[in-house]
């Protein structure tokens, strides 16, 4: 049933198709375009006669988010099913408390398989027989929907209260078992083969019913602290100075360094520099050296040099040269992608071996710097990873595309730096071979 793609018959048609996708991708990724954007989530009410009514706006859950996944559970155990949403757009997590005004009875059943059934009883089929002869059927799932797993506790709404006349479980191993009739508005545990119900007391959180909504809202942060997944060696990167034009990052050996990019016209930069000055003693005691690089035009560098003196950072300061900015832009492309915002101020935190560990976009608080420097000191000297700088851990080895970086530098005529980064590409190839062998 596999059909050959008619569109791939000629190279020209395939190219056209590819180009359309690329144009769309470009539009969305790089130009801020929308594709089926601001689409509201929908809710349908089952009318009980095979039909549904679109009630979306009356739920207040018709968010225009780029929603992705929804999971269902009774978070507050009040007998009504709540929703948890994951979104692409911010806020990326929402919890919705069900406030239905119905007074319908309900029943929660927790199943436990034994013997040849899996313990979670996934695959069990539960049938409730009601007085009117109708049946309610539900099964236990281990994940459904999209990127989602909802609760494995079965939740039966019971409508207008028709009496339960039968409770049957078909367990995953095929055993069919009848259980006694449960009281409603309670949670019961059903253990396979036991033939009995045991109540699981789950008092509802009374306070939830009276809480005012506390919705999350999109937040756009003005400062960003970007911890790299792997330290980036920068020792051979030129670092312009007012006094020593040939200086490289690696010349600043002996402790952590903050390269701070600023400008005389940049108000936020100078506010940040003033804060550095206020905390100069603590930062210095922590062993952090701050190298201020002014982004001013050449004819403003005299002013920049004077101004940086007022912040007490004149000793190792320098002007951003065209070559320096070109190198930074290429490093940015590799580190953050070609569409990463580049803002002032930006600061780069390097370890004592001249390896970049953290990029701060926007102003960074001295307290954050002190905490990060301390975290760097705690990190093992040989570690490639900056695990101490943030919560969490990498399970996998992340291998940077040093060959690609070297290639970009070479194309920009920066052959020495290209050669420098090529050595890391070779180092990583060696690591790969070792990993494959071991």
């Amino acid at each position: 049933m596999t059909s050959q793609s008619p569109e791939s018959e000629t190279a020209a048609e395939a190219d056209e198709y590819l180009a359309a996708w690329e144009a769309l991708s470009h539009l969305i990724m790089e130009e801020g375009g929308s594709w089926s954007g601001r689409e509201k989530n929908c809710a349908y009410l089952n009318l009980g006669n095979g039909r549904f009514a679109n009630v979306s706006p009356t739920t207040s859950a018709d968010y225009p988010d780029d929603a992705r996944a929804v999971a269902v559970l009774d978070w507050d155990q009040d007998g009504r099913l709540d929703l948890v949403l994951k979104n692409r757009t911010g806020p990326r997590l929402r919890l919705l408390h069900n406030r239905s005004t119905d007074n319908n009875p309900w029943l929660r059943l927790r199943l436990r398989g034994t013997g040849a059934s899996n313990r979670d009883a996934i695959g069990s089929l539960v049938t409730l027989t009601l007085a009117d002869g109708k049946r309610l059927v539900q099964s236990v799932h281990g994940g459904d929907g999209y990127l989602s797993q909802s609760t494995k506790t079965l939740h039966f709404g019971l409508g207008d209260g028709s009496e339960i006349q039968g409770l049957q479980v078909r367990w995953p191993d095929g055993q069919v078992e009848e259980f006694p009739l449960p009281d409603t508005r309670k949670q019961w545990l059903l253990v396979q083969g036991s033939g009995v119900l045991s109540e699981q007391a789950r008092p509802a959180l009374a306070r939830f019913a009276g809480l005012d909504p506390s919705p999350a809202s999109l937040q756009v942060e003005s400062s960003h602290r970007i911890v790299l997944a792997d330290r980036l060696p920068m020792a051979e990167v030129p670092l312009p100075a007012y006094e020593n034009a040939a200086r490289k990052v690696g010349d600043l050996s002996g402790g952590p360094v903050l390269i701070n990019m600023w400008g005389t016209w940049c108000v936020g930069c100078q506010k940040e520099l003033a804060e550095f000055k206020q905390s100069a003693a603590e930062l210095s005691a922590a062993g952090l050296r701050i190298i201020a690089i002014s982004n001013d035009e050449a004819d403003q560098q005299d002013l920049a040099q004077k101004r940086i003196t007022t912040f007490g950072l004149q000793d190792a300061a320098g002007p951003a040269t065209a070559e320096y900015l070109k190198v930074l832009a290429l490093l940015y492309d590799e580190l953050l992608g070609a569409n990463a915002p580049s803002v002032l101020p930006t600061s780069l935190l390097l370890d004592d071996r001249g390896q970049l560990c953290v990029i701060y976009q926007g102003p960074v608080e001295p307290a954050q710097l002190l905490s990060d420097v301390a975290a760097l000191r705690r990190a093992p000297a040989t570690a490639r990873f900056t695990g101490t700088l943030q919560e969490g851990r990498w399970l996998s080895v992340r291998v940077r595309d040093f060959a690609g970086l070297a290639n970009g530098l070479r194309q920009a005529g920066l052959n020495d730096l290209a050669a420098y980064y090529t050595t890391f590409a070779e180092r990583d190839a060696e690591r790969h071979r070792e990993a494959a062998g071991g």
């Binding site: 309900w106 929907g145 919705p215 070609a338 851990r393």
Partner: protein, 619 residues
Amino acid sequence: MPTPLSPRSVPLCFLLLLAIASSCGKEEETTARAEVLFEREAARPVGVVGENLDLKKSSHDDWPTEILHDNAKHSLKELFHAMLDGDFDRSRAATVLAEDFAGASALQPATLEVVRETGRLQVRRESAGALAPSGEGGEGGRNAFLQQVEAMSKQFGGKHAHADFKIISVDPQDAAHFATHVLVQMHGLEGGPLLANMDWSVVWSGTPEVELPTIHSLQRNFYEEIEAPQPLFAELTEEVFGAFPFFARDFLQGSADLYRRSDRLSGNSMMGWQGLAVGDVNGDGLDDLYICQPGGLPNRLFLRQADGRATETAEAAGVAFLENSRAALLVDLDNDGDQDLVVSMGSHLVIGYNDGRGGFAGLTPVTPDGVSFVHSLTAADYDQDGDLDVYACRYNTGESGALGGGLPVPYHDADNGGRNVLLRNDGRSAADPGQAGRGIFTDVTSSVGLEQNNSKFSLASVWEDFDNDGDLDLFVANDFGRNNFYRNDDGRFTDVAEAAGLGDLAASMGATVSDYDRDGDLDLYLSNMFSSAGLRIASQEDRFKSDNEQEREAFLSHARGNFLFSNNGDGTFSDVTDEAGVSLGRWAWGARFVDFDNDSYEDLYIPNGFITGPDKDDL
């Protein structure tokens, strides 16, 4: 006259039409010196025609009816502004009525039947049956129509009144008229109390050059009112999670902002494909949440506390993974009574075994054959040997980006996607007692028959005994084409989608199961793409060559929206989408059945939306 498109160019145009909502806005230029670190040249698309492709223009050039659509949209907006912006603006409403007005049926039927009442929520609709009779034309008809518009304006208008509408077909009639099919949803006051769902056929007077066409006639096909004195849901996100210092950074920013500010090495993308799992991790009887996060941000484990707020324990529990994680499951893989964790990352899975107290030890990587992007995960005991096996949907043949491993070919029935895997849990028979029999998973995809039609762009799966023979069948929702329905016969699978009535071509993204009609068997709801633009163009038969009918139907099916399949009781299905009235999601990800009001009839919640960019221009 538009010329028929060649079959080859149809998929391309279809794609562009689906994306018509996009626009090519540029950020504002400022004259003051920008506070940027360095200026960069704008990146350009590298495609063959990409540099010169004006999406909107090419769409409109190929499909002149889209111009008629835009014009009708302007006029409908005028009408709804006249109705809902403050006091009724009769003269503004009158501007959308044609000189040759031929009559309209009443916008609201004289009588409504209460079809559902649950708590204080009430659904009223007109009884199905004869078409609403048309009113007179001419001046008298115009006045009568405006009176009805005014009556609705009084009923719905006010501070938070709003009307959403979609034009799902455009058919030119003669030189001066064109017909449209319009779905309208109007509601007054935020979140209620009153909502109206309407379905109209509107014939317009106007040529493509007329930017504000006027209503020649209007036929009411359906009217429904819902009264809901209070919103069904109260969002308590800040109450439950807001106290965490990381919450704003990790959850309030959008994926695009996170992506642009994360190390590319973290394998991040801006697509927002990160899901969640519910399970009782610490064994206190309350469900907890494991939340997948983009690369560079730790996944989060939120335990429900006694007061209803969450505590966060991922780091302490050893599961604060920084890899770009997509799906997770909390299931008991080793049958020791606690919830183990499965997380998908790239083409791999990682399994963590619960130590019984909510900590995870013995992390086991599972790396199936081939490189392909894992989306959803499900667990089920397909072979009834007493332990849970894991099925992973793998989208495209790459690990990065939206379509990093290649574009779907052909678009409407692609067969070059990733390879899904069924991993059999062999924990119990493991030879190594030191591992307590854990972590042995065998890729049995081929040997059980699941290699059949296994190169789709799969996004989700669901296990259910659809044919009621005692074992679990597997449904797989695929983007860009047909889905899979694997019938399980003693642990061997056969794809019987076509024979079971599930052979439709669509862009499926999710599947959910419920006995929605309470007839004792389990039914299937699929979340697909709904595109009014796609519907508008794919419905135009004369624009497709006659030998291309199959493809046209495929595109129509792709744009139609969600599907509801009612189980016939034997594992074959009937498409009941239209009579149930549940086709309209939008760009619908994993919809879920959930009984909102405990009335025993399961309702539906549908997450929607693909990519929202900063540009405001949209459909």
